[in-house]
């Protein structure tokens, strides 16, 4: 019995790294895109500390209007990007559930903007990749428009009430 367990553990230890390496080790979704950019352009994303906490706070402060905030920043990113290659890489990593709604690309490759959307029930996933020639940012967020609107209106009315109040 012990031999069998030992054999299974060894087999798993060998198979898992092989599978990960075979898949490129980049994963899919937001992380897949970020890792693929790092791997392809030999750059490192700036790690933003407490991003998970910031995502939680944004969710709580908007009553669930904004959730699952992910952000990766590539500073001093001045490489010229091939718009077609970048688009197909992002499309491949995000998968078919995401629809590309905006693409702006310049031939020089310095400026690139990609916006993808994905319906998530009452919410909508938004994925934005933007490069302005000096910095490349990747953002993913899940938005509930009704709740976000309610939060925005709450502050708008509060601001209007303050303006109407006589001095």
């Amino acid at each position: 019995m012990r031999r069998l367990v030992f054999f299974l553990v060894c087999a798993a230890a060998l198979v898992v790294p092989v599978v990960v390496l075979a898949s490129g080790g980049e994963g899919s979704g937001f992380d897949g895109v970020v890792r693929s950019i790092e791997h392809t352009y030999h750059v490192r994303a700036t790690r933003i500390p407490f991003m998970g906490l910031a995502s939680l706070i944004s969710g709580a402060s908007t009553s669930g209007g904004v959730r699952n905030l992910h952000l990766a920043q590539f500073e001093n990113f001045s490489l010229a990007l091939d718009g077609e290659d970048l688009t197909s890489m992002v499309e491949q990593k995000l998968g078919p559930s995401w629809a590309r709604v905006v693409r702006e690309t310049s031939r020089g490759g310095r400026e690139q903007t990609l916006v993808f959307m994905r319906p998530e029930g009452a919410r909508m996933g938004l994925f934005v990749l933007d490069s302005d020639g000096g910095e490349l940012d990747v953002v993913e967020v899940s938005v509930n428009p009704d709740r976000l609107n309610a939060t925005v209106n709450q502050y708008t009315h509060h601001h209007e009430d303050n303006e109407d109040r006589p001095d």
């Binding site: 629809a99 905006v102 693409r103 702006e104 690309t105 310049s106 031939r107 959307m117 428009p145």
Partner: protein, 205 residues
């Protein structure tokens, strides 16, 4: 009737239904990028593409309030089936040909689509063409082809839309430039049912 014949007939019927379904989808949905669009994108210095289907428009409309202008735009875009924008900016003149324009226009040369505006300025070599899709006398789509010496823009809006609504939509991302030349139009031209395009300015080339 033997089983083979029955199976053949059912198969033929299924194929016909699938064909009609595909045809209907092609008429209602946004078009796939044509080969000429890819060629233009390859020649252009800057390319902007916006593709919003009914789901995405419905989502975008939720961000608008029920007050004032927002309410009108919200109602307008929530009824649309799709918005398709392509804008190509070129480094120099002559990067696209009349043949390219004809290819872009070709998919709208059906009985549903009628040319309503054709504006050509000989001096500046600028052309603006507007075609409207009419179904049972109701507007169900607008196609705009705006050609400038160093810029080419295509806008396709599917769904119940009128010329005077274009001004409201020009505030949306990607539409300000291409709709600029025509969004100021405050009238709804009657669709030209004849095959001859309607000239807004009579100096055709």
């Amino acid at each position: 009737m033997n089983r083979y014949k029955v199976a053949m007939r059912i198969g033929a019927l299924a194929l016909a239904i699938a064909g009609f379904a595909l045809l209907a989808r092609g008429q209602d949905g946004l078009p796939l990028p044509s080969p000429v669009e890819k060629e233009l994108a390859a020649r252009a210095a800057d390319v902007t593409e916006v593709t919003l289907d009914k789901n995405m428009l419905g989502f975008a409309s939720k961000f608008m309030t029920d007050n004032g202008d927002d309410a009108h735009v919200r109602k307008l875009i929530s009824g649309l089936k799709g918005i398709y924008v392509r804008d190509y900016e070129f480094d120099k003149e002559g990067q696209y040909s009349m043949d390219d324009l004809a290819k872009l226009r070709a998919q709208f040369e059906t009985s549903d689509w009628s040319p309503v505006v054709r504006e050509r300025e000989r001096g500046s070599k600028e052309t603006t063409e507007v075609m409207m899709k009419m179904v049972n006398g109701e507007p169900q789509g607008i196609f705009v082809l705006d050609a400038e010496p160093k810029e080419l823009a295509i806008v396709l809006i599917l769904g119940p839309i009128r010329m005077e609504d274009l001004g409201s939509l020009s505030g949306m991302a990607g539409l300000a430039g291409p709709l600029g030349p025509i969004s100021g139009a405050q009238h709804t031209p009657k669709p030209n049912t004849s095959s001859k395009p309607a000239d807004k300015k009579g100096d055709d080339q």
